[in-house]
């Protein structure tokens, strides 16, 4: 069991982190204090053209792995800015790994002709994750993930997320059952601009993981959820599937239904992407640079409620989180299993209005 919340303002009006902190806090029963985390979009407007690498290092600032990763980044990227991520230890979360963020751009001459810039970033992330002792918590532009071991409201306080302003937020309250509660295993799981918070257990993990390895994605975070962000990245960015089709690949209609409507494209998606089907119970909020996707497994074995108030959209494991933030809503519904809810952000005009 886990709890998830998403808040999306499609006008890109900024919301400070105190709202999402409250929304996930009241789902306390859905976690057990072994993991909480947040993803925030729009938090680095000054560096919005650079990839924001949030790094988690085992040990402290003197760990040799820090220098190793930094040397690697210097070799592969232009590092525009680097700083410690400020943390505020308290009596509930006394201490954790060492966090740092880097704003980087690839060195153009290092990108191979068969790679895109983003392939290059993915390769960089995968390399760092395999170095041992360092994990890339997030790597997208103008976004970042903050996560750790504790209840989510305590993790929020640890990172002071109320100090960040974002137009799209997700939060996660973890109740780990299949893998250890460790800082890297908290949600969200990210790659480039994609971040996933997930409630469920992926029974197809072995198939998904071995499939992803063929395409250069390595699952090292000991948690099933990371396959979702990688699958989505591969399908949409590398293979050019629409978001809708990518959701169909991950949670396809029954063959019976595909036969009935005689849809050749859907048939082909199922045939080609069988190993990308995400099986087992899940409810996810998957955010990306242009919006958010809410998706359930096709048997709807996990709760997700969606709502809209004006141009602010909500998704949550429980309705209470939504009602807490917005007692009156324009609409509220429970999406059907396997039917994605796609929320598109408005164009980025560069203005920074606070909601």
């Amino acid at each position: 069991m886990c709890g998830i919340v998403g808040i999306i303002n499609t006008d890109r009006r900024l919301i400070d982190g105190s709202h999402i902190r409250e929304a996930i806090r009241i789902q306390r029963d859905r976690g057990n204090g072994l993991g909480g985390g947040f993803a925030a979009y729009g938090i680095y407007p000054e560096n919005k053209d650079q990839y924001a690498f949030h790094l988690m290092y085992e040990g402290d600032r003197k760990s040799p792995i820090v220098a190793k990763v930094e040397a690697y980044l210097q070799n592969r990227t232009r590092v525009y800015q680097s700083e410690e991520i400020p943390v505020y230890p308290n009596d509930r979360v006394a201490g954790g790994p060492y966090f740092k963020r880097y704003f980087v751009k690839p060195l153009a001459e290092e990108i191979r002709p068969d790679q895109s810039e983003e392939d290059y970033i993915v390769e960089t992330v995968m390399f760092i994750n395999r170095m041992g002792g360092a994990f890339v918590v997030s790597s997208g532009k103008n976004m970042g993930a903050f996560k750790g071991v504790g209840y989510p409201e305590d993790i929020a306080d640890y990172f002071h997320i109320q100090d960040y302003k974002a137009y799209m937020w997700t939060a996660h309250n973890r109740f780990p059952t299949n893998t250890p509660g460790w800082w890297g295993g908290a949600h969200p799981f990210t790659i480039l601009d994609k971040a996933v918070v997930h409630n469920g257990e992926i029974t197809s993990y072995g198939t998904n993981m071995r499939y992803l390895e063929m395409f250069g994605y390595f699952c090292l975070l000991q948690t099933d959820t990371e396959v979702i962000s990688y699958i989505f990245d591969k399908l949409t960015r590398k293979d050019g599937l629409s978001r809708d089709d990518a959701c169909f690949a991950m949670a396809p209609a029954l063959w019976e239904e595909i036969d009935r409507i005689d849809d050749r494209k859907k048939k082909k998606i199922r045939q080609v992407y069988g190993a990308a089907v995400v099986n087992g119970p899940f409810g996810i909020v998957l955010t990306h640079k242009d919006g958010a996707i809410i998706l359930n497994d096709r048997n709807k074995l996990r709760p997700v409620v969606c709502a809209r108030t004006g141009n602010t959209w909500y998704a949550s494991s429980e309705e209470c989180s939504i009602r807490l933030l917005s007692p009156e809503v324009d609409e509220l519904w429970s999406p059907k299993g396997g039917e994605p809810v796609l929320i598109e952000l408005g164009a980025d005009t560069g203005t920074r209005e606070v909601a």
């Binding site: 059952t177 257990e201 072995g206 198939t207 395409f215 599937l241 080609v272 992407y273 190993a275 089907v277």
Partner: protein, 507 residues
């Protein structure tokens, strides 16, 4: 004249024992002796209490192979097949070895021939692999209440949606009937295989003996084989089926050809194989136009040209030591499907020494091949079929978890039709009428009944596979394919676990 008098014979390892209290011979029942096609049971005159002579069954102790036909057909349950309590106090020189030496030094001499698959003590890895199941953290799925999908497509698939899809075979259950030729089997069995696979939505394989004209209507569920003897191969033959399989080797006799004796080649087999009546049908050990991988590529594409790229081309090999790189080579040579046949795979006839000692287990072979194709990033370009020793539905699913797309089963087909796995398929005397074309025996197969038996077998296994998937919380079979994470090994060494790609139980 030598001094030694070779006046002993090999002791047959089995004999039928008759419970005379149950036996109805006094009333004239002679079913057992008529059912025994090997000449083990005769009838002996005895005088009854009333002074009348009647006939009782008698074990000749000369030919019993424990096929169990007599025991199964006795309406009174009066027959038990006993293992002959043969000698050797010696734990090393066991009955089999002693008997074989007697045979080879006796009148018969020569290469020992057997049917069916290897019987040796090598580890059955399937038994050391355990499935996972859902408990608490995710719900298992009840296949009676929720949809459960096991449809499978075999054939080349692109890595991305924009790529070209090769021709596909659609299987409603991930189980096909493996290659057994017309000649080795009789036409009735072929017809039952064709009808059952059509009813269930899967495929059967003609083997190398051609595709009888009366069954061509079942082409949509048929895979035809091109083997080293090229029996029955014509353009029309290639185009008559849903897929064409090039047979390089088989698990029961890797590197060995085949031999259908001339006496078995009657008019129907002659016509189907396109050879003269009464001539020996010899399959050379290698294809004499395939001495290398590039030759195989030419044959694959010759077949694709002939079939206008409308059907997938499969290549079947025996699981041998170097299986992984061989499979990679075959994939790159253009095959759409590769069938790997483990050393337990059966056959109509094989030299005993080859059957027992050549090849490797299918579990290790399929795991190694799947892993190699993934490392080379070409797994999608080819489908893998596992075969050779698959005994039940959980073996099927374990093979899939290890990396197979589907399986071939063949011995289970024979068993479903009655076979007692007596290993004498080559004798032409099959008491069940399966591996014989002899009039009087072949008719023991009733095609309708055989079709039903095979249909039930496929459906039963499919149902069991769905149960197993449900317990693992998996609603569609593509999520188990290559999913070694849902298997754990019990009692396996680190090296075995590494090759299988499976963690030990408890880890």
């Amino acid at each position: 004249m030598g001094i030694m008098q070779r006046n002993w014979s090999v002791i047959p390892p089995f004999f039928p024992e008759f419970d005379m209290e149950r036996c109805d011979c006094a009333n004239g029942c002679t079913i057992c002796s008529r059912e025994c096609s090997f000449g083990e049971i005769s009838q002996r005159p005895v005088r009854g209490a009333d002074g009348k002579v009647y006939y009782r069954p008698w074990a000749n102790k000369a030919a019993c192979g424990a096929c169990q036909r007599c025991a199964k057909m006795c309406p009174h349950g009066a027959i038990t097949i006993r293992r002959a309590p043969m000698h050797t106090s010696h734990d090393y020189w066991t009955t089999d070895y002693v008997n074989n030496i007697w045979k080879q030094s006796g009148n018969e001499g020569g290469v020992l021939l057997v049917g069916n698959g290897a019987t040796g003590p090598q580890r059955r890895y399937f038994d050391h692999l355990m499935f996972d199941a859902c408990q608490v953290t995710n719900p298992s799925i009840d296949p009676l209440r929720e949809p459960m999908e096991i449809r499978t497509f075999l054939g080349r698939k692109p890595d991305t949606i924009d790529g070209d899809m090769g021709p596909q075979l659609a299987l409603e259950v991930p189980i096909m009937f493996g290659a057994m030729s017309f000649g080795a089997l009789n036409l009735r069995v072929h017809e039952a295989e064709a009808r059952a696979t059509k009813a269930v939505g899967t495929f059967w394989n003609t083997g190398e003996g051609g595709f009888h004209k009366s069954l061509r209507g079942y082409g949509a569920n048929t895979i035809v084989q091109v083997a080293s003897g090229r029996f029955g191969v014509s353009e029309e033959y290639l185009k008559s089926a849903a897929a064409v399989e090039i047979k390089i080797g088989q698990g029961a006799k890797p590197g060995i050809g085949g031999h259908l004796p001339g006496e078995k080649v009657g008019p129907a087999i002659s016509e189907t194989r396109m050879i003269p009546v009464g001539s020996d049908a010899l399959s050379p050990a290698p294809h004499h136009d395939i001495y290398s991988i590039e030759d195989l590529r030419q044959l694959i594409f010759a077949i694709k040209e002939a079939t206008e790229y409308q059907v997938p081309v499969s290549v079947k090999i025996a699981a041998v030591h170097n299986v992984a790189p061989i499979v990679s080579g075959i994939a790159r040579a253009g095959a759409d499907i590769i069938a790997i046949d483990g050393f337990r795979g059966g056959t109509g006839a094989t030299p005993l020494q080859i059957r027992q000692n050549t090849g490797i287990p299918i579990e290790l072979a399929i795991a190694a091949a799947d892993q190699r194709l993934r490392e080379e990033k070409i797994r999608g370009s080819v489908s893998l079929i596992a075969s050779g020793g698959i005994q039940c539905s959980s073996d099927v699913l374990k093979a899939l978890c290890l990396g197979a797309d589907a399986v071939y089963v063949a011995t289970p087909v024979l068993i479903a039709l009655g076979c007692g796995v007596c290993q004498r398929c080559f004798s032409g005397k099959c008491a069940y009428g399966i591996t014989t074309n002899k009039p009087g025996l072949a008719e023991r197969i009733d095609v309708d009944e055989a079709t039903e038996a095979l249909t039930r077998l496929l459906r039963s296994w499919a149902e069991e596979i769905e149960e197993l998937m449900g317990s693992m919380g998996i609603s569609t079979i593509e999520s188990l394919r290559g999913n070694r994470d849902r298997l754990r090994g019990v009692g396996l060494s680190e090296e075995e676990l590494t090759i299988l790609g499976v963690k030990h139980a408890g880890a």
